[in-house]
């Protein structure tokens, strides 16, 4: 318990590292946009620019042995859960050095060694896995927690309701993290949900629900710690509602015709989680530039690593179908 107590909040030294990590994710995502537009990346991609505090705040709060399930907007979660940028970038380039060895791509990033049980391209698809993984931990008496990321759009799909119901019914050690960016692709929350406070949905199952500003990484961390503690102590699952901002489109290249440009610009100006943390820590321009140079180099190196990666042999497509 002593360990848990001491980790309720982040010391300032850690917060500087948090800022660095958020900046790394931001630069990584920007580079992904750039390389996609240059025609280097196959498929289609979703970046989480603006939601870095959610990924970093949540993943920092986890203990070794805890696991996550992610979404189609998975780059930040994956990096924050400990996968090396080289391996994430190599996956986006479809190389065998990628974290899913070229079988997954942006929407199917896996890194089991680091406790990432996979991004999921089906909205809500990973939620029952989190309930089931938490059930396994409970049955074996392991002090581990399974945590799901999902967006507001997912709160309308059947797996969301069924998974939360089952998790609460069985009091499994799971945490359900809603990154509420107010958009289901191009559909605003007012058009996809009849209620404004989506944590009401968790309360309907009798589930403990916590809410905080998803742009404030300290708050995200603290709230997640509280949720994890509750879940780990056997009191049942927790719903964490993060109020956050998707600063870019649904996918790279999304012209966002559905969105008020001025409002989006204002949000980016006032609610950027990196700017907010920087202001809080009073980081100077010089310090920030230093950090920026450092993370930009890491991202550039990741692109080099990925480009020099190995293409799978076409016939490798027939491997891994069965164990």
């Amino acid at each position: 318990m002593a360990k848990v107590e001491s980790k309720k909040t982040l010391p300032e030294s850690d917060l500087r590292d948090v800022l660095r990590e958020m900046l790394l994710i931001r630069r990584f995502e920007e580079k992904v946009e750039e390389r996609f537009r240059a025609g280097e990346l196959p498929g289609f991609l979703h970046v989480a620019i603006g939601q870095e505090a959610c990924a970093v705040g949540v993943c920092r709060a986890l203990e070794d042995g805890d696991i996550i399930a992610s979404t189609h907007r998975a780059h930040g979660h994956t990096l924050a859960k400990g996968t090396h940028p080289n391996e994430v970038m190599a996956e986006l380039y479809g190389k065998t050095e990628g974290c899913s060895h070229g079988y997954g791509g942006s929407m199917h990033l896996y890194d089991v060694e680091h406790g990432n049980m996979g991004a999921n391209a089906v909205i809500g698809g990973g939620l029952p896995h989190v309930t089931g993984a938490a059930l396994a931990f409970q049955m074996r008496g392991e002090p581990r927690v399974a945590l799901a990321f999902f967006g507001d759009g997912a709160t309308n799909i059947g797996t969301f309701h069924e998974s939360l119901n089952l998790a609460q019914l069985w009091k499994v050690p799971a945490v359900f993290v809603l990154e509420d960016n107010k958009w289901a692709e191009s559909t605003p929350e007012s058009q996809h949900s009849p209620i404004r406070d989506l944590s009401e949905r968790a309360k309907a199952f009798g589930m403990k629900a916590l809410k905080c500003d998803g742009q404030d990484v300290e708050a995200v961390y603290k709230t997640t710690r509280q949720a994890l503690e509750h879940a780990r102590s056997g009191k049942g699952p927790v719903f964490v509602h993060l109020d956050c901002v998707r600063m870019h489109g649904h996918y790279i290249g999304d012209p966002q015709v559905y969105r008020d440009k001025e409002e989006a610009r204002k949000l980016a100006e006032t609610r950027d989680p990196i700017t907010l943390l920087r202001q809080k820590l009073a980081v100077s321009d010089e310090e920030l530039n230093e950090l920026d140079t450092e993370v930009t180099e890491i991202v550039e190196a990741a692109v080099e690593f990925a480009k020099n990666g190995t293409d799978p042999a076409p016939e490798d497509a027939l491997k891994n179908v069965y164990a």
């Binding site: 070229g102 896996y110 996979g118 939620l127 896995h129 797996t159 998974s163 089952l166 164990a323």
Partner: protein
């Protein structure tokens, strides 16, 4: 050798695995106090308790998905989907998730989960409680598909399915639960991917699954009286398919009938016919005959249901047609 019903054989495989291995547990709707809608898990709650004989809400997506999640963490769950018809509700988790997680992760994960389900006509449940949907799942790379027709097979194959590291969709047939048969004293695992020749013959091979294995054996006896010697083969596992045994049999008899209770069109028999025409083309003396349900949902009225699904008479008619083609 002891005699068990098909139902008892399923239960014996589950209970034996659960006695020997803490990682094996069962979950599904009404499987605890009620013992399952087909009585398969009757008495298991008393022996293993509610943690491992886990009643679930009527919630197929979550129950299938939670089984997948537990399997991802090293358990060997057996999820009971009460009726095959309800596999359509679990299909997203079975098809998009269980079948593909190993692949999408580049081989990092294994999903040792079994989805046990059952269906079959003959008791007038109507259109939503008796479909035979095995062909849907045979079409999905990453899934193994088993359909056993006897107590011995169902026990040995369920055992192998529980200990297979891949997701297995395990079909049982409702009207077979009461069928009795001798089984080995101790469970003998039956390899997934091995067909069983039930009856040797010289003139026609009938390849049948589920209830139609029994109907085909009856038809074979009738044909025998007419001087036609029929071989009856049950693939037992539909994916992987023991093509070698099926093709060898047809090369011997030169004629083939495929028979299942599912709708004929796009049914599993279509794939078997394709395998046979390609691998045994020069041996075939007649087109491969197909026996299956007519192209309609299952009707309620007993006379209509009887008309839609195939019986021994339909298999016999197909045998006669193929023999009637001459050499």
């Amino acid at each position: 050798m002891p005699e068990l019903s098909y139902r008892e054989a399923v239960r014996d495989a589950l209970a034996t695995a659960m006695r020997e291995d803490d990682g094996v547990f069962i979950m599904g709707e009404d499987i605890a106090e009620m013992g399952g809608s087909m009585g398969v898990t009757h008495g298991m709650l008393e022996e293993f308790g509610p943690e491992r004989v886990r009643n679930t809400p009527i919630s197929e997506m979550a129950l299938a998905g939670a089984a997948i999640g537990a399997a991802m963490q090293g358990m060997r769950p057996v999820a009971e989907i009460m009726y095959e018809d309800f596999m359509t509700l679990a299909a997203e988790q079975v098809v998009n998730q269980a079948a593909k997680i190993r692949y999408m992760s580049g081989g990092q994960l294994t999903i040792p989960v079994v989805f046990r389900t059952q269906g079959g006509a003959g008791w007038s449940p109507g259109a939503q409680h008796a479909q035979q949907l095995e062909a849907w799942f045979v079409h999905i790379p990453g899934l193994k598909v088993v359909f056993a027709s006897t107590p011995e097979d169902v026990r040995g194959l369920l055992w192998s399915s529980i200990y297979d590291d891949n997701p297995v969709v395990f079909f049982e047939h409702r009207t077979l639960y009461g069928v009795k048969g001798h089984v080995p004293e101790k469970i003998e695992p039956i390899p997934i991917g091995k067909a069983r020749v039930h009856r040797e013959g010289e003139d026609v091979t009938v390849i049948a699954t589920g209830r139609l294995v029994h109907e085909s054996l009856t038809a074979a006896e009738e044909a025998e009286k007419e001087g036609v010697s029929v071989e009856v083969v049950d693939p037992r596992t539909l994916q992987p398919l023991d093509e070698e045994t099926l093709v060898a049999s047809v090369k011997k008899t030169n004629r083939a009938v495929v028979a299942h209770e599912a709708v004929t069109r796009m049914g599993f028999g279509a794939e078997v016919a394709a395998v046979l025409q390609y691998q045994a083309f020069d041996w075939l003396d007649a087109p491969v005959e197909r026996v299956g349900a007519k192209f309609a949902p299952l009707p309620f009225a007993p006379v209509m249901e009887q008309f839609v699904v195939p019986h021994a008479d339909d298999v016999l008619a197909a045998i006669r047609r193929t023999v009637g083609r001459g050499n």
